[in-house]
Structures are given as C-alpha cells and as structure tokens.
C-alpha cells in the first residue's frame, strides 16, 4: 500500500478520533459535581452569590449544555482552544509552557527503557538459563511490579535527602542559578535524572523481555543458521542481523505505549514536582478547568496518534515482508 494513501486515511481517522475525544470528555467533565465558580470561591475563602453568578456568566457556564459544547467545538475547529477558567490565559499558552517538559520526560524515559531494556534482553538471550538472565528478569520485574510513585518516593528520599546528590525541590531547573544556555542545560539534565529513571522502570521489564524473546526466536531460526554457516564472526551475527529483526516488535509497541507513559508521567511529575502536562491535567480536573483539561487531552491524543503513525511508517520501512506488498 502506498504510504501516501495510508497517511491520508490515518489523518481523516485522526480528526474523527480527536472530535470524539473532545465530545466525550467535555460531557464527562460537565457531569462531575461542582464547577469552577466553586473552586474560585474556595480559593478566595468564600464568595457571595452574586460573585459566583458573575463567574459563571463570565465563562458561559450558565448556558445550556449543548450550547457550551457546540461553542467549544466550533472554537477548536478554528484553532482556538479557549481560555483557562482558572488562569484566564489562553489554553494553548499554558500547554506550550509545559509540553516540552513532559515530552522531554516521556521520550527520555521511553528511550532509556528501550535501549537499556534491549541491551539487558540481548545479554540475557545469549545465555538464557544463566545467572545473568535470571538477574535481568528479576531486576526488570522489580521495576514493573513496584508502583511507580512508590519507587519515585523512595528514590527521591534516597538520593535527595539521605545521599543528597540530586535536587530536593524538584522542578526542571533552578531559577536562582546561572542562566547561560550551557549551565541551564546541565541543570535540566541534573533535575531530569531521577524522574526519567523512575518513569523508565515501568517499561524496562517489558522491553528486556521483548528483546530477549525476539532474540531467542531469531537466534534459533534458519536465517541465523545460514549466516553462521557463511562464517561471519559471531558478534556480527548476533548484533547486526538478529538485532535488526528483533527491533521490529520494539518499534511497534513504543508508539502504543505513549498514552500509558503519559499516565505514568502524572504520578512521577507529582512526586518530583516536574512541571509537565501530567500535573497540569490532574489539577485542571480538580479545578474543573475544562478548557485546559480538554486542551491537554487533545494534545496528548495528537501526540499518541502521531507517534503511532510514525511507528507504523517505520515498521513498514523496516520490515521487508510488508514493504513488498504482501499483507
């Protein structure tokens, strides 16, 4: 199938999907008890009836539900994600402020899980019943089986308090530190270490086992026997041919796991005060700040769709069987 026609089809799909996401979530949030007027009243230590009515009128919350929904969708179609009920700033601005932080966290964690996991899986595959293989299994399973926020709390206390080598106050960088680009980048890297490691533990097990299974599969196949018979050095055999084919399933799953990683990011960001979309989404929900929450769901869904699309294309490029048109 032509990549172009695949793309077009997927794009149409994506638009429909995003619309469905927005409608459903708008409805769900609308059904939740309370509204932003209550939130604002709460923060102010109380409010009068008139003030609450004013707030509701200001944000169109006194309109009937379908009016609110259509007006919102209409705006989105024109590229306007609306204003945050809570911050009175454009939602797009709020999201752009934090999107980078989350992407940095999630992509780094995924890459770490993939590379480290694959490495461990390959090592384990070379000696499937040996000590290292079992050790890898246990280590990876530990990361998967321990609740991610629990791991985060333990790591934070161990490495920011007991052995203080990482920043305790969290955040992405130290505002009171030097702000030349190089220092800033190093500072961000310093702040990033614990959150990224924590988030990657979720998928470390997955990728190491995936790599191990794929490697075992491939190592026993005819393809490899032929390669060995040709007399190529064993190292080349393993790491070039086998690895290349084992990468396929990894690529497939990476795109799919984006959404789940965003979930994990909510918990990790909460513990480390990492200024990403996860905490913003959670807090928007608590504040009934519908435009912001919907804006984030919109963005994250888009990211997932794009990631899926890219992995789909990559898959087709890598896997020769599909490229030849066989289905």
């Amino acid at each position: 199938m032509h990549i172009a026609s695949v793309l077009i089809r997927r794009l149409l799909n994506a638009v429909g999907l995003l619309a469905a996401v927005l409608v459903l979530c708008f409805t769900l949030i609308h059904l939740a008890p309370g509204d932003p007027a209550e939130v604002i009243a709460g923060e102010m230590g109380g409010a009068t009836q008139e003030m609450m009515a004013e707030i509701r009128a200001q944000y169109g919350l006194d309109q009937p539900f379908h009016v609110q929904l259509f007006s919102y969708l209409g705006n989105v179609a024109q590229g306007d994600l609306g204003f945050s009920f809570y911050f009175d700033r454009p939602v797009t601005e709020l999201i752009i402020d934090r999107l980078g932080a989350t992407l940095l966290l999630v992509v780094s964690a995924l890459l770490l899980a993939i590379f480290l996991g694959t490495f461990l899986g390959v090592v384990a595959a070379r000696n499937p019943n040996g000590l290292i293989s079992h050790f890898v299994t246990v280590l990876a399973l530990f990361g998967y089986a321990a609740p991610v926020f629990w791991t985060a709390i333990i790591l934070l206390i161990l490495f920011a308090s007991v052995i203080p080598i990482f920043p305790a106050s969290g955040g992405m960088y130290d505002i009171t530190g030097p702000d030349d680009p190089l220092s800033r980048i190093l500072d961000i890297a310093h702040h990033m270490v614990l959150p990224v490691i924590t988030l990657s533990t979720i998928y470390l097990a997955f990728y190491s086992r995936l790599a191990r299974a794929s490697m075992l599969d491939v190592l026993g196949s005819d393809y490899i026997r032929t390669a060995r018979a040709k007399g190529l050095a064993e190292v080349v055999v393993v790491y070039k041919h086998a690895l290349r084919n084992a990468v396929l399933p990894v690529v497939t799953f990476a795109g799919l796991q984006f959404a789940q990683l965003m979930s994990g990011a909510v918990l990790v960001e909460a513990v480390y005060s990492w200024p990403g979309l996860g905490t913003l989404a959670f807090e928007s929900l608590l504040r009934r700040d519908t435009p912001t929450l919907l804006g984030i769901l919109f963005f994250s869904s888009m990211v997932v769709i794009v990631a899926n699309l890219l992995t789909d294309i990559a898959y087709r490029l890598i896997d020769p069987r599909i490229r030849s048109g066989a289905k």
Partner: protein, 530 residues
C-alpha cells in the same frame, strides 16, 4: 487610634514583647541576596483586590502597598498612609498619604487611587463586611482621603493592611475594554503596584520571581534584590527542600514534619507569627436535618469526640485547642464556654434522652461525615478517627469521599450533608471572618462558607450586630463573650483546634516575617546576615 488596637496591644502584650525582643536581637541585614520561599498553592493571578486567599496574598503584598501595616503587634504602623485620624463620632477617618510615592510605572499615588481601590475591593471582595460600612470616600486634595462610614466600624484599620486593601493604580484599571472588569483585567497577571518588589515572571505552577523596587517610597529598603516563590506541591518534598537549604522560608502545618524540622541544624522553627489569621478546624452539623436538629444529639457527639486526643496524639501536641468561634489569639476570645470534654457516659445518656435507642447490634444511628480535601491532618484524619470513636456511642459513621474541592463544596453549600469537617479563618477582626458563619441571613444555598449549618438564633444575630459597630472595646468584648457562650450552648458547630501555622526559616535570615500576618506582609525589612 481606635480602642480596638489600644486594648488589643494590651492583651497581646506577650506577643508584642516577644516581637520587640526579637527585633532587638536582629542586626541590620546586608544589602542584596535572593530570598526563596516555598508555597504549595498555585495562584491564579496577583491582584489581591479582586482575589482573596494566600496564594495571591503572599506575592500580592510585595507588589502592592497598603495604607497601614501591622508588624509584630496589633498596633497599626504608617505605610502608604503617613498619618491618619478619626472624627469624634467615629464615622469618619481621614488619611494623609506620603508625598512622592509612585507606582512601579512612575505614576504618582494620589487619594483618587485610594478611593478607587476601596471601591474596587468593596465591589469584588467576598468579605462584604470589610468595607460594607463605607459610604463614600472624599478626596479634598491629592494626598488626603476622607472615608465616610454609615456606622462605627472598628475593623476598618485592620482591613487596611496585608492583602485586604492593596492600593491599585486607577489609571490602569479604569481603562476597560469590552467585557473587561477589574476581575479579569489582563494586568492582573503582570501587575503594577507600589510595593517593595516588582513583578518579573510567573512560570505557571512552578515559580514566581519578583525584583527589588529601587524607587520604593521607604528609603533604604528593601534589603533583598530578589524574591522567588517556589511552588512545591508535595509536603515531604517541601521538608527536604528546606533541610537541604534550597529555600529560606515557608509555613508548615503538618505536625509530623514540624517535629522533624525542629531537629534540623540550619533551620529555626517558630510558632508565633500569623496571629491575625485565626484558622479553626471544626466539626459542623447540618442543623436542619434530623436527628442533628436536636441539640442533645449534637452535644452527645461533642462529648464523644476527644479533643485532647486529637491534639495530643493525632497532631502531636503541636496545635492548640479551639473552644469556640473566635480563635484564642484574638483579643475577643472568651474561655467561659462549655467545652464538652470527653465523657462517653454523658454522650450515651443524651442520645437515650433524644430517643435514639440502640438496636440489636448496638447501633443507634447511621450517619455520614464529609471533610475538606486539604490538610489531611486537620480534616481527613479526624473524620477517619471519628469512625471508630463514634461507634462507641452507637453511631455507624460512613466517611464520604471528596476527591476534590468542588465536589465537597457543592455538597456542603447545597446543604446535602449530615456532618462535615471544615476549616474557616477568622481574618483578624470577628466582623470579617466570624459573623458570616452564624447569622440568619447568611444562609445562602450554593455559597460555600456561608452559614452552611443553617443555624439561626435571633439572639445571636442581635449580639453580633451590636458588637460589629460598638466602638467601646470593653462593651464589645462583653457582647462577643455572650455570643460565644450562646453558640457553645446551641452547638451548630463543635470547634476542635487552631491550625498550627508554624513558620520555618533559615538561620541566615534576619527579620523573618513573623508578624501577625506572617509573610502576607511586605518583606522590605527582611534580609540575610553577613
């Protein structure tokens, strides 16, 4: 000087002496430095005139100056107001502004800004009683404002301090576009005030940066170059941040952390400061819902709740008991009330008298309790403690979950509850924060922190109305004492403890903000030691 502040100073003598001793100890701080404060809250914007609460108040009191300030005692100090005086009939207050004070954009501050600010706050602030008695503000000249009252208003001076009456620039806020008001004015996010620090940057949800106002109207101040508010949501993280020296000041409320911080070498833990706030944790009843409409049932529950246990065990002795609607740190506090100390036998007897006999399983009544989803040590923990405790008198208590504030607020303001934990502030003068909970015509469905208990006692209403406008302090105290006694008898609410706002700061800090408004107060005199 009103009689309120005169006697307030006398009764708060201990606090003042402490404060003065503290000031005598402090050397003059060095010039410069960045002060880092921790906060758990995310502010919407920075104009306290249209948004109350501490999230806006903390940075707001640095950006905006007020007419008066109250430092360590209850004695008002000149701030933007150089001097002020009252008419003999207490219905008019004349304020003289400092000459040469300017906003951050260079515009001079005039009495017109004062009038505009009072009108804006009056129209937009949720506490209507603060400036409700103000009829008009006259501006005979640029530096004089005359505030005319419809009745005596002893709370007025306090209302002119901290975050309650920031002087906002009329030349900015009077220019409104279509659909704009002071409430949603874009300048609220990047405000122009006249305070010791100017707004620089707000990274939403992360940090706020303020910098020194070189043109500040108090010469030689402020000492600091910059103030940074770091927003850290997790309580344990705030603790280790302070321990690691990554921040210089914050307020802790959880007793478990307070005990830990007391052991840190680089920190000082102080329990004075913030006396004006008066935050009380209490157990409220829905007095229009059976069987809680029967005072005997309410009293029985009060006798079953062990306030002492809550304070000593659950809060590790860090908090103080609250026995009534007015906080113990207030000059109007009266201890002459029924305190309902733990007495299970009496509780059981009262329930028998109320006609709630135990069934076969020993259960008299099934009830539910809500709680404010914040400060677990003050709210959720107590609600959960009540579950096994009230079982002892035959009440099968279900704790209703409130995952977030709007869920809880909607229930309670909609009068859809049996009992609820709550946390409400006094805000200095009882007129501002106390009256609203007990007066009959503040029973408004849909408004949180109105009289959600639906309590109505005309005697109480009368006492409060008189106390609100009584200029003579002794008479005022007597009226409030009568009020406290009556309400403790009717018991629409059972008061438990005063939230222990404990201030933790670095040893390097000179003149830490420990006055009656704590850090909701200009930090112009704060600095670092050499």
């Amino acid at each position: 000087m009103t009689s309120f502040s005169k006697i307030a100073r006398a009764t708060a003598a201990a606090a003042l002496v402490l404060g003065m001793a503290w000031q005598a100890q402090a050397a003059e701080p060095k010039k410069g430095g960045t002060l880092t404060l921790l906060t758990s809250q995310v502010p919407r914007h920075f104009n306290p005139a249209v948004q109350s609460g501490t999230a806006t108040g903390r940075p707001g009191t640095q950006i905006f100056a007020t007419l008066l300030r109250f430092d360590e005692g209850w004695e008002p100090q000149p701030y933007l107001a150089e001097s002020w005086s009252w008419s003999d009939d207490n219905l008019s207050m004349t304020v003289k502004l400092r000459a040469g004070a300017r906003f951050h954009d260079g515009h001079p501050i005039t009495s017109k800004d004062v009038r505009f600010s009072i009108e804006t706050v009056k129209a937009n602030h949720p506490f209507k009683t603060m400036f409700g008695a103000v009829e008009s503000v006259e501006t005979p000249d640029d530096l004089t404002a005359v505030i005319k009252l419809s009745q005596p208003h002893p709370a007025l001076e306090l209302a002119m301090s901290s975050a309650l009456l920031p002087i906002i620039p009329e030349h900015i806020y009077a220019k409104l576009e279509e659909g704009q008001s002071a409430k949603n004015h874009p300048m609220n996010a990047t405000p122009v005030g006249s305070g010791p620090f100017k707004f620089v940057e707000y990274k939403q949800g992360e940090y706020i940066v303020l910098e020194r106002n070189d043109d500040y109207f108090l010469p030689g101040l402020p000492y600091l170059d910059r103030i940074v508010y770091k927003i850290v949501r997790d309580s344990s993280q705030r603790v280790i941040t302070m321990e690691q020296g990554e921040a210089d000041f914050y307020t802790e409320v959880e007793s478990i952390n307070i005990r830990r911080l007391e052991k840190a070498d680089n920190l000082i833990v102080s329990d004075h400061g913030g006396e004006a706030i008066g935050p009380i944790t209490w157990l409220a009843f829905n007095t229009k819902r059976a069987p809680f409409d029967n005072p005997k049932v309410r009293q029985a529950i009060a006798y079953a709740v062990d306030r002492n246990f809550i304070i000593k065990a659950l809060q590790r002795g860090v908090s103080k008991a609250a026995t009534g609607p007015i906080a113990p740190s207030s000059p109007f506090y009266s201890a002459d009330v029924e305190t309902y100390d733990i007495d299970l036998d009496k509780a059981n007897a009262l329930l028998d008298e109320a006609g709630l006999k135990p069934n076969g399983d020993g259960i008299r009544l099934a009830a539910s309790i809500d709680y404010l989803p914040a400060l677990p040590e003050q709210q959720k923990n107590i609600a959960e403690y009540l579950k096994p405790q009230l079982k002892k008198i035959g009440i099968d208590l279900t704790v209703r979950n409130a995952p977030d504030f709007p869920t809880w607020a909607k229930r309670v303001s909609g009068h859809d509850f049996d009992m609820t934990m709550d946390l409400v502030f006094n805000w200095g003068d009882p007129v501002i924060g106390v009256h609203r909970t007990y007066i009959c015509d503040n029973i408004i469905k849909g408004v949180i922190w109105s009289n959600t208990q639906q309590y109505c006692n005309p005697k109480v209403d009368a006492a409060l109305e008189m106390a609100g406008k009584e200029p003579d302090l002794a008479k005022r105290k007597a009226l409030y004492a009568e009020f406290q006694k009556t309400v403790a008898q009717d018991l629409p609410i059972y008061w438990l403890d005063v939230v222990p706002y404990t201030h933790v700061h670095s040893k390097k800090l000179v003149n830490p903000p420990l006055g009656i408004w704590a850090d909701m107060h200009p930090l112009d005199k704060v600095g670092f030691a050499e």
